[in-house]
Symmetry: C2
Amino acid sequence: MSVTIKDVAKAANVSVATVSRVLNKKSNVSEEAIRAVNNAVEELGYSPNFLGRDLRKSETRRILAIIASTEQSFYSDVIRGMEAAAFAQNYDVLIATTHDDPNHEMHLLGMLFSRAVDGAVLLGPKLDAATINALGEKHNIAMCLERLDNCNVLTVTIDNVKAGRDAVNYLIRKGHRKIGLITTLQRSQSSIDREIGYKLALKDNNIPYNEEYVYFGGYEAEQGMRGCEYLMNLPSPPTAIFSISDTIAIGAMNYALSKGYRIGKDLIFMGFDNISYSHMFVPHLSTVEQPCYAQGKLVIEKLIENMKATIPDHNLYTLPHSLVLRDSTGD
Amino acid sequence: MSVTIKDVAKAANVSVATVSRVLNKKSNVSEEAIRAVNNAVEELGYSPNFLGRDLRKSETRRILAIIASTEQSFYSDVIRGMEAAAFAQNYDVLIATTHDDPNHEMHLLGMLFSRAVDGAVLLGPKLDAATINALGEKHNIAMCLERLDNCNVLTVTIDNVKAGRDAVNYLIRKGHRKIGLITTLQRSQSSIDREIGYKLALKDNNIPYNEEYVYFGGYEAEQGMRGCEYLMNLPSPPTAIFSISDTIAIGAMNYALSKGYRIGKDLIFMGFDNISYSHMFVPHLSTVEQPCYAQGKLVIEKLIENMKATIPDHNLYTLPHSLVLRDSTGD
DNA sequence: TAACACATTGAAAAGGTTTTCACAATTTAG
DNA sequence: CTAAATTGTGAAAACCTTTTCAATGTGTTA
């Protein structure tokens, strides 16, 4: 029914081998054959069946990026970086979402085990380290943005401990000593690391850790509001709030605005991620920026290297972050 | 090197045909064989090669969603709808981004022509109607969110003309007669349709169309700011502004806030899309909501139907939108 | 002129699966 | 107790490529 390489061969009066050679731009084929084949291809509207090709070559030149959801807009830059690195070596990047379901994550990894893709990058996996380690033994897996403790799979991320520490140190340097933290109950390693950084910054400045100043919520802006409400209703409320994501920080500021706090003066805020909305929101949000594009680019480069390597690289690569200072810290 | 169905067959002491039958849960196979095969599979850590399977079955049960970028967070709900419908029939949804490049869009469609996926959904294509029509003749393509004039390919969208008209009519009903429009220079059909709706609403209320009140910018919040600045510096500035997207509206409100306008009173705003940030931003943004999830779900259902159908359905389906009224219109 | 290198080509194997077909063994019907 | 139906099974074909190998033909060298 569908036109195959055989049909092209017949139409061009050559063998299928020759058609294949022309299509793959092999050198040893005559000008005449090239013309005949190209004409036939054009005429019949032929496009090669990748299933046949991929099966024979045992390679698809496709990489799967597995993300929790497309909601988190800051994935966007990571994907762009991944694509840039992939295209440079003739790979395509496909994206699939898990919706935070480890079973579905495993299902998607099935595409890797079954060779429907050549490699997979996990952006914030829900599977545990042991499972991923086991899979990483036999398959081409990498992690990006998020590391996992005791996981020896190729990983590209930032130093979230240091990032949290830098962020909070900055708030303290601004003259604040009562620092709130809004983080998440459902813990990713990055949240945990940022919280560790928060504690280290307090220690750096001889400020005792006060667990009252830490609110555990969810990832939504709504939860940021709740967190801020909780913190500001403490007997001795904080004067600076560090949130482990911009979305949460925006929610928190939302609450502060509604209560008339003067953001940047009475109360300062620091977010994380530098999502595009963080400088659309008024007041503009100070935040920690991580090199999304660079992380995406690097992880793909390393992953592709690993495909060819005999001894795969299972290292952890840490890229530098930076502070972006805006209205919300009075800058 | 890699373990195949043959290895399993050997280990289980049966033929490859039997292994295949067990794996695909065919009825006519003995309990004994089932046990033997399952053991062998377990022991060898076998997972079937999808390239072989898909080639043989001429089907991949994968659908490609082609989007401009993962930046636009409101795609997220559409994707969720698509996945729900797909999973229900054992299909997977893969996402790929074009970055607004028609060439890259064509490259991705290559996965469809080459049978690496069974169908493709375009969410905001950059290719022209004629090209898509031609491709739609031979391949399983659908469009979602965005229609194209003179394009007879299965399409699921909303009535953007009516939506724009409803939005502007609401602003007028609120007592305003000087209505600004911030739209985009690089035109998608939805922008065009919303602009038509804007004009129709003016006509509905005998308000003459004034081209000074229309600003053509880009899709970024930044451009919304510019648009608002332009409009408010007119000799007789508008008292209500309709933006063709929430992101643009948020930018516009940003400018208005910085100039001290009382949003919801002196100046009212209406956006489009109901992105999650539209009710995080203070003041909360009134907007037009489109049924993203439902559109995604429907387009996949129809697309899968088309795969089986002898005469494919090339209709345009229009789902209902609604107004979401918040602070920015004084509600 | 013989021997040889080189360019171009096609037949066939290979890649891993599913499915058809035929066959044997068993059960059921008459 | 025989004929017919059913069940379980394996060999081989099919899906569509790429690639290996051998063969042909041309041109070059000795």
